[in-house]
């Protein structure tokens, strides 16, 4: 035990010295467990941005040092790993993606006054008044109204069935969605909770068929979405299946095969966005890592560039000043190409940018409409 303690102390010591020439941006992310796909995408997106920035001389002359640690998709482990990252005197912390994990460790970042760039989407994260938490994609309170509008205006649906995964992500989305439905006088005729990691959706699909709603809103994680789509097609559900990125993502389409065709909905962020900068980014990503990224790759990539841009704006490495500067900041691709799309952070750390309505056609996500930034309306 003693030797290891010395080892730990030594490791901590060298890290401190190292931080002098570089800027420390630990990535604490889901590299294994249920969140591995999202986490790996986020990590690789961030790594791509960091490599580019370092190749051009870093931020304010300092290269970025980004040690990675794995939360195992486990909130308890993520807390330990974020504590470890904070011990190494970081400038910002990147990650994690899982909302449950973020909720555990965002308190730590707040106490240590370290800005945290997260990929999480649960609604309540930015509503606790924590000035150090920043999103890289829409929170559920931003995306659900857009879906609700689509169901009302695009589909003209009067009744809807909801199928959601019973974890903090699914529950948060479902609760927000319910509120939006009530506000639009659309009746929720069936409310089905499913398990995380569930493999058999036969009973749920039977129930959905029985509910006979005008539209079915599916809010589960990627793999469950794929299994559900297969089962739904098997049983021949003909009603429109509506979802978010977790239903329409390329990964889901790959897993569900032809069963995914016809699924529609709103995607806050998409690697298939008809934006030239995003397409060019996707090519770069595929060339570097050898696989097609999902929206989590964009989160990691743009998150790093946002930090770079804001740091250059304030002209120094100051965590508090960075957090302050990011609130209310708008970054355009003209000023910082790495942001890919014009993005605004509000006072809570929520973001605003364009988003898309999409549909799965012939095994590809097709963007049918681009929705403007909320602030531009």
């Amino acid at each position: 035990m003693k030797r290891s303690l010395v080892g730990l102390a030594l490791a901590a010591g060298t890290m401190g010295a190292y931080a002098q020439q570089t800027v420390n941006m630990p990535i604490v992310i889901e590299l294994s467990g249920a969140g591995a796909v999202s986490g790996t995408n986020f990590r690789d997106g961030a790594v791509l941005a960091i490599e580019e920035i370092n190749a051009k001389g870093g931020i304010l002359g300092r290269k970025i040092n980004a040690p990675q640690s794995d939360t195992q998709s486990n909130p308890g482990t993520s807390r330990a790993q974020v504590q470890k990252a904070i011990d190494s005197d970081p400038y910002v912390i990147l990650g994690p993606v899982f909302s449950g994990s973020v909720k555990v460790n965002m308190i730590l970042c707040q106490q240590a006054e370290v800005p945290q760039i997260t990929g999480a989407e649960a609604a309540d994260i930015t509503q606790t008044g924590n000035p150090y938490i920043f999103r890289t994609s829409f929170g559920q309170q931003m995306s659900m109204p857009k879906i609700a509008n689509y169901i009302r205006d695009g589909l003209k649906a009067k009744t809807v069935a909801v199928l959601w995964v019973n974890n903090d992500f699914g529950k948060g989305g479902r609760d927000t969605f319910m509120k939006e439905m009530a506000a639009r006088n659309i009746k929720v005729v069936s409310d089905i909770s499913t398990e995380s990691g569930q493999v058999d959706f036969a009973a749920d699909v039977v129930k959905l068929k029985g509910a006979n709603a005008d539209a079915i809103f599916v809010y589960t994680n990627e793999e469950e979405s794929a299994r559900f789509l297969r089962e739904a097609r098997k049983q021949g559900i003909a009603k429109p299946l509506i979802g978010e990125t977790t239903l329409l993502g390329q990964k889901v389409i790959d897993m569900a095969g032809s069963s995914a065709n016809g699924a529609k909905g709103h995607v806050g962020l998409s690697a298939d966005a008809p934006v030239p900068a995003v397409q060019a980014w996707k090519e770069k990503f595929v060339k570097r890592f050898g696989y097609v990224p999902d929206h989590n790759g964009i989160k990691g990539y743009t998150g790093v560039y946002a930090v770079k841009y804001a740091t250059q704006k304030i002209g120094k490495f100051d965590r508090k000043a960075l957090a302050k500067a990011l609130h209310g900041m708008t970054i355009t691709p003209q000023e910082e190409p790495g942001i890919l799309m014009e993005t605004t952070w509000d006072a809570n750390g929520d973001i605003d940018r364009i988003s898309f309505l999409a549909e799965v056609v012939d095994g590809k996500q097709k963007i049918v409409q681009t929705l403007p930034k909320l602030g531009n309306k």
Binding site: A34, A36, S193, V199, A203, E222, G236, M255
Partner: protein, 267 residues
């Protein structure tokens, strides 16, 4: 459909056993460049060797003399090992798995029936009939049953107990491979699938009766029906609890299983 043939071993890794053969197929196709049927055949052979022979030789045989409890715990460790290996050496995310048959739907008397389901039911029935015939109708099969029920007596009667136990493991391996090929096209192949599947297989076996093939099938069927009914008409949130309640009830009131013969057990 998920069977558990007793050989006086409790295997907490049974679910992982169902998960792994699908990955043997995928790996054979990806790295060996084999066609799907060839890969399935190869995976079946690998399953027999790894999940049958090696499992018995390397895991069960050395530990069994120490008692039941260490073995139970060892299979928990084995489950972790199998999950992590698949994750590390193949992939962490779910993989689409090719179906060996058409995925189209048939319209039968107004009801939509998928070919997939028909095939699954068909294969399961054939497998069960074969197994029943083997266990009840052949000499080897009857010897195996005798071994399972009372190894000491079986030995006295001159049955090669060691070989019989090995057969049991081989049959188990073949069945899990079969189950794996059947469910993976729907469930997708993922390293965590074993957790869910293993529990279902177990509950089915216990509810139906540990020492009865028929019991396990009936148990599986009953479980499937109850599970679907609960999800459809009662609370989906507590759905996962129902099979477990069933399990507890059966263990407490009828430990030999609903369809099992009463059998002396050391309590």
């Amino acid at each position: 459909m998920l069977l558990w043939q007793t050989s006086q071993t409790i295997n907490f890794a049974q679910g992982e056993f169902v998960m792994v053969p699908a990955f043997f197929v995928l790996a054979a196709m990806k790295f060996g460049g084999l066609s799907f049927p060839l890969a399935m055949a190869l995976a079946l052979v690998i399953s027999l060797v790894v999940l049958g022979v090696l499992f018995k030789r390397l895991v069960v045989d050395p530990i069994l003399p120490h008692g039941m409890l260490p073995l139970v715990i060892s299979t928990i460790a084995l489950a972790i090992l199998m999950k992590e290996s698949v994750k590390e050496f193949y992939a962490a995310d779910a993989q689409p798995f090719p179906a060996a048959w058409a995925t189209t739907n048939l319209e039968v008397a107004g009801a939509v029936v998928s070919v997939q389901n028909l095939v699954i039911i068909g294969v399961a029935v054939v497998a069960v009939v074969l197994l029943q015939w083997f266990l009840g109708g052949t000499k080897t099969g009857r010897q195996m049953q005798a071994t399972a029920q009372n190894p000491t007596l079986a030995r006295v009667l001159g049955i090669p107990v060691g070989r019989m136990v090995l057969y049991t493991f081989l049959i188990n391996a073949a069945l899990v491979a079969l189950a794996s090929f059947l469910v993976s096209p729907i469930y997708l192949a993922k390293f965590t699938n074993g957790e869910t599947l293993g529990l279902v297989a177990f509950v089915a076996a216990i509810v139906g009766g540990f020492n009865q093939v028929r019991g396990a099938i009936a148990g599986g069927l009953l479980l499937g029906i109850v599970d679907n009914f609960v999800a459809a008409y009662w609370s989906a949130q507590y759905r996962a609890a129902i099979p477990l309640f069933l399990l507890i009830a059966v263990i407490l009131w009828r430990p030999q299983g609903l369809f099992g013969r009463a059998e002396e057990r050391t309590v």
